[in-house]
């Protein structure tokens, strides 16, 4: 009788625990990170009365959470991927909107070039010149706006890197604390809620950075970054820190607890996406835009110098653009060398940033070597004046460098923001050709002036005027206005060159014939140089003369667009992977309400049945008492 009662009570107790667990499952059905729990019942130890072994009821030995280490790890790693893709997609779509909303560069470029075409049609009209210079200003401001938007995004990304590292550190220390609490409790029943909370924190951490988690035998979880540094080990957490890049203090780098720069090794999660976006999307876009600004300024200013403005003076630059940034490493020796960089050949200019480092005498070129920030080595050539050239850049070094000193060179990154119109007077637009050539009136040969053009606008004697006097058998002597003489022999079809100009003749000049090259001051209503300026729209400036400024913008569009569409499709992929992993994990750990309903019914009935057992025991007891009383 007593065993029946105790069995009944054990059943009631077990059913109560089970009902409480089911209630808790139902209550937490939509709690993030909650794992479905179930009651672990075992048969109570049986007692033998010598002949028979009768069960002794039920014991509840534990409440277990439904958990798969493998599936949970898969959720963590796919979460890194998905959060990274989400961040990347957010940043690239912002960039794409910036590009389409910050004014259309192509339209501005075309109005700028066609402004010169209008000037060419009526070179002395001041309103046309005003309009052309106005178009130059609006073009510069479109470059500025785009450049500033990119700079702002860069600042924002650097800020986010700092914030993300702060969050990572806070999560790591919470995980370490939980590791400690779980360790204390592990002797007793498994603390399901603590485990769930820790898993949830690890999942949040996995969204911030790529990481790997290892379960230790003592129940704690160790967390390592994608670069292998421990973030959490047992109850101890190791904080990451942020600081300025050794070259560029405005660029935020991430350091491990030992102070090593691990920025380039971090992948995955929000942090990995921010770092990768900064180096593989934003910086190239800034450089590409800057390269286009430099190409514009250099081609326009170069053509300006080949013409005469409305005052008959050689054309002055329309645009000014900042020179390449040289950023010495913070690790450089004190009092070392000073490096300045300039662009010597725009057609060779790339969108790379470079590291110029001093490797000591006897190595490299004059002790210096150059590589892209991507690590690709670039050949340097030494110039007679001691400067070094490579990839269209020229470096001048003053002072003495120490071995190991290095400098980051950013040729194009700031060009778009620094582009400005330096010309203030519209009369300065060099619409007219610089030179005019005429045959002397007494010439007896058939030689006729074909054309005269400028080949080197920097030649000091370019505008000094010159006469070309022919002798016998095509021999000629050129005497320029400054008294310099050049001699040569004329070959039909070949230009005659001197002082930075080039004269093309047709026909055959006779001995004694002469031709004069003079400044075109009497022909300022000529628009031929303005026509050439307008024609720059289709003149290749970059990549060895293959890429026009408009092409360069089209390339930028493709580059940014591709980054955006890749990020979008990557997000879809990563989200699907995450959903798959999360679905699989949830199919094990999630709460199914139908299941809980069934369990509820089941345990309710178990409770009722156990209660019935007690009631039966009581009735049996009563009938026994009654029988005794009746029999007495």
């Amino acid at each position: 009788m007593s065993s029946m009662l105790s069995i009944g009570i054990s059943g009631i107790n077990a059913a109560q625990v089970a009902l409480a667990t089911v209630s808790n499952n139902i209550a937490n059905a939509s709690t993030a990170g909650y794992s479905d729990e179930s009651v672990n019942q075992v048969q109570a130890l049986t007692q033998s009365n010598g002949q028979l072994t009768i069960g002794n009821g039920v014991n509840v030995v534990g409440v277990q959470r439904a958990y798969s280490q493998y599936l949970t790890s898969a959720v963590w790693s796919t979460n890194s991927g998905m959060q990274g893709a989400t961040t990347m997609n957010g940043l690239t779509s912002t960039l794409n909107s910036l590009l389409s909303n910050s004014g259309n560069l192509q339209t501005s470029l075309d109005s700028f070039y066609s402004g010169f075409s209008t000037v060419a049609s009526s070179p002395s009209s001041s309103s046309n010149r005003e309009a052309a210079l106005g178009a130059a200003s609006s073009l510069a401001s479109v470059y500025n706006t785009l450049g500033q938007q990119l700079t702002q995004q860069s600042t924002a990304v650097n800020g986010q890197i700092g914030d993300t590292v702060t969050s990572i550190n806070s999560l790591a220390s919470q995980i370490a604390t939980l590791n400690g609490q779980i360790g204390e409790n592990s002797s007793s029943n498994a603390p399901n809620s603590l485990l769930d909370e820790r898993d949830s924190l690890v999942q949040q951490l996995s969204g911030l950075t790529g990481m790997s988690a290892v379960s230790e035998s003592n129940g704690s979880i160790s967390v390592y970054t994608s670069s292998g540094q421990a973030l959490v080990s047992g109850a101890q957490s190791y904080a990451l820190s942020t600081g300025g890049n050794q070259y560029d203090p405005t660029s935020t780098d991430v350091f491990d607890s030992a102070g090593n720069d691990i920025t380039s090794q971090l992948t995955g999660g929000t942090l990995g996406a921010l770092i990768s976006y900064r180096s593989s999307v934003l910086q190239p876009a800034q450089n590409q835009l800057g390269q286009s600004a430099i190409a514009l300024a250099s081609s326009v200013n170069g053509q300006q110098a080949q013409g005469l403005d409305l005052n008959g003076k050689q054309g002055q630059p329309i645009f000014s653009v900042g020179s390449p940034a040289v950023l010495p490493s913070s690790n450089n020796s004190t009092g070392g060398a000073t490096v300045t960089a300039s662009i010597s050949n725009v057609s060779q200019l790339t969108t790379s940033n470079y590291i110029l480092s001093y490797t000591g005498t006897g190595t490299g070129t004059n002790g210096w070597s150059l590589s892209t920030t991507g690590g690709q080595s670039v050949s340097l050539t030494a110039n007679p004046d001691g400067s070094l050239s490579g990839d269209g850049l020229t470096f001048a070094v003053s002072g003495t460098a120490q071995k190991g000193d290095s400098y980051e060179i950013e040729p194009t990154s700031n060009a778009a923001t620094s582009l400005s119109v330096s010309m203030t007077n519209p009369d300065g637009i060099a619409a007219a050709a610089a030179l005019t050539a005429t045959a002397a009136s007494g010439n007896t040969g058939t030689g006729v002036v074909g054309s005269v053009g400028v080949t080197d606008a920097t030649n000091a004697n370019l505008l000094s005027g010159a006469s070309v006097k022919f002798g016998a058998a095509g021999a000629y002597t050129i005497t320029d206005g400054n008294g310099n003489t050049t001699t040569g022999t004329y070959t039909a079809g070949q230009p005659i060159t001197a002082d930075g100009w080039s004269l093309t003749l047709t026909g055959t000049p006779a001995s004694g014939d002469s031709f004069n090259v003079a400044v075109n001051t009497n022909g300022l209503n000529d628009g031929s140089n303005a026509t050439s300026l307008a024609g720059l729209a289709d003149v290749g400036v970059l990549d060895g003369g293959k890429t026009t400024v408009v092409d360069s913008y089209a390339n930028l569009t493709t580059q940014i667009g591709t980054a955006g569409s890749q990020a979008a499709s990557d997000l879809t992929t990563q989200t699907n992977l995450y959903n798959q992993a999360e679905g699989a994990q949830q199919s094990v750990s999630g709460v199914n309400l139908n299941q809980e309903a069934a369990n509820l019914v089941q345990y309710q009935q178990a409770y009722q049945a156990s209660a019935q057992v007690i009631s039966t025991a009581q009735q049996l007891f009563t009938s026994l008492i009654t029988a005794i009383q009746d029999g007495s």
Binding site: A29, S30, T92, S93, N96, S97, L99, S100, Q106, T107, L109, D110, S111, Y113, S114, S117, T118, A120, S121, S122, P123, S124, S125, L310, T436, T438, S441, N520, N522, G523, L524, N525, G527, S528, T531, A534, G535, A537, D538, V550, D551, N555, T557, T558, Q559, I560, G561, T562, G564, S565, N579, S587, V588, S589, G590, V591, N592, L593, N594, A597
Partner: protein, 412 residues
């Protein structure tokens, strides 16, 4: 497989959210009409749009250039027509002044008339285009390339260059003609040579029409240097031809050219033929000088010479000779104007041909641009309805599924 209830809800929600996003994207495409709103929608297409828009912008630029070139060339052609008409009137007037017995009053009136015509010619030569730029100044900025001096002579202040307008990729057309080529550098005499009788002649010999009849012989004669020969008349119309050094000029057979001239005869040598009328006195000469470029006579000088001759007020052999020479010069000037007219006409034709091909090209590029840039409405709208149907279906399924719980059947 066991399904987590909250995950089921989450999944249905995710599905509906992504369907909504697609729907909103399609809606955006339909309302803007653009298939590409940001570069990431279609990176290749976005770069094509840049390229095509650039070509279209250039075409617009060419169209504008052609418009202004056309205006300028039309102004030039109508100005040249006026010049041509004016020179015709001068020609008529000058023709009327010879071979007639004009009173000195008539001549003086004619001189006045011609002076007015000369002034008008200067005015026409200084015509400006719509932008106030002189048509015939070359590339000089001067607005009055033809400056009339107090004496009536006209000097040219422009230059000899031509300005060009770009009307297509690598295609340029001159939009001006320099004043020097139209009005100033007029070949002398008949274009090849001048046959003139000096005013010192005492006979009644008047040099009439003259021309090159044998170009080979004429070139041969000029090979050693420009021809500068003199026909010298003796008594009874006999004549001999000497060169500038005084040596006799030989015919093809190597004999000195001599002969006897009679009224109305023409004298031929060195491939030229000079017709004369009247009777020369002994010692009279006729000079035959090749056009060297340096003996060019501008049209204003021609008119001035006529005016001076008319102002002298007497019909005479010298007057007739002068007027004949000036008429020759006038004909050359008219020829120069007509040649320019023809050249301008052909440029206008080039511009118009280019305008029509430019319009065709623009149309082609516009349609290519629209293919890339514009959304295909039929597709977009059918997508829109498809996506909204799909969303509705998802919503209905969600509503159905969320009612399917065991609890709803357990309620007592």
């Amino acid at each position: 497989m066991r399904i987590s209830t909250s995950w089921t809800y989450q999944q249905s929600l995710n599905t509906m959210l992504s369907q909504e996003a697609e729907l909103s994207n399609t809606q955006n495409q339909v309302s803007t009409g653009n298939a590409i709103n940001v570069a990431s929608d279609n990176p290749t297409g976005a770069s094509q749009i840049v390229g095509l828009s650039h070509i279209l912008a250039e075409n617009t630029e060419y169209t504008n250039n052609m418009g202004s070139a056309n205006t300028r060339l039309s102004t030039e052609t109508s100005t040249l027509t006026s010049v041509s008409n004016l020179l015709d009137s001068v020609n008529d007037l000058a023709l009327g002044s010879i071979n007639g017995s004009m009173s000195s009053t008539d001549m003086s009136n004619m001189a006045t008339q011609l002076t007015q015509m000369r002034n008008q010619l200067v005015q026409l030569a200084n015509t400006s285009d719509a932008n106030g730029m002189a048509l015939f100044a070359g590339t000089s900025t001067t607005t009055t390339p033809f400056v009339q001096n107090a004496s009536g002579s006209v000097s040219y202040a422009g230059n000899n260059q031509q300005a060009y307008t770009t009307i297509g990729e690598g295609l340029q057309v001159a939009n001006t003609d320099s004043g020097s080529s139209v009005f100033m550098n007029i070949p002398a005499g008949n274009g090849s040579f001048v046959a003139s009788a000096p005013a010192s002649n005492t006979g009644t010999l008047v040099v009439g029409t003259n021309s090159v009849t044998d170009t080979n012989a004429w070139s041969a004669a000029n090979a050693a240097g420009p021809v500068n020969d003199t026909i010298t008349f003796g008594a009874g119309g006999t004549y001999a031809v000497t060169d500038s050094a005084g040596n006799p000029v030989d015919d093809a057979s190597g004999n000195p050219i001599t002969g006897t001239y009679q009224d109305g005869d023409s004298i031929s040598f060195n491939g030229v033929s000079v017709t004369m009328s009247g009777t020369p006195a002994a010692g009279d000469t006729v000079n035959v000088q090749a056009d060297t470029g340096s003996n060019n006579q501008d049209v204003f000088t021609t008119l001035n010479n006529m005016i001076t001759a008319l102002q002298s007020g007497s019909s005479s052999t010298a007057f007739d000779n002068t007027m004949n020479r000036q008429l020759e010069a006038l004909n050359q000037a008219m020829g120069s104007v007509n040649n320019t007219q023809v050249a301008v006409g052909s440029r206008i034709d080039t511009v118009q041909a280019q305008q029509s091909s430019d319009a065709d090209l623009s149309l082609t590029y516009k349609s290519a641009l629209s293919d890339v840039q514009n959304v295909d409405m039929a597709t977009a709208i059918s997508n829109l309805s498809l996506q909204s149907t799909a969303l509705q279906a998802s919503q209905q399924v969600f509503a159905k599924v969320q009612g399917l719980t065991l609890f709803s059947y357990l309620q007592s």
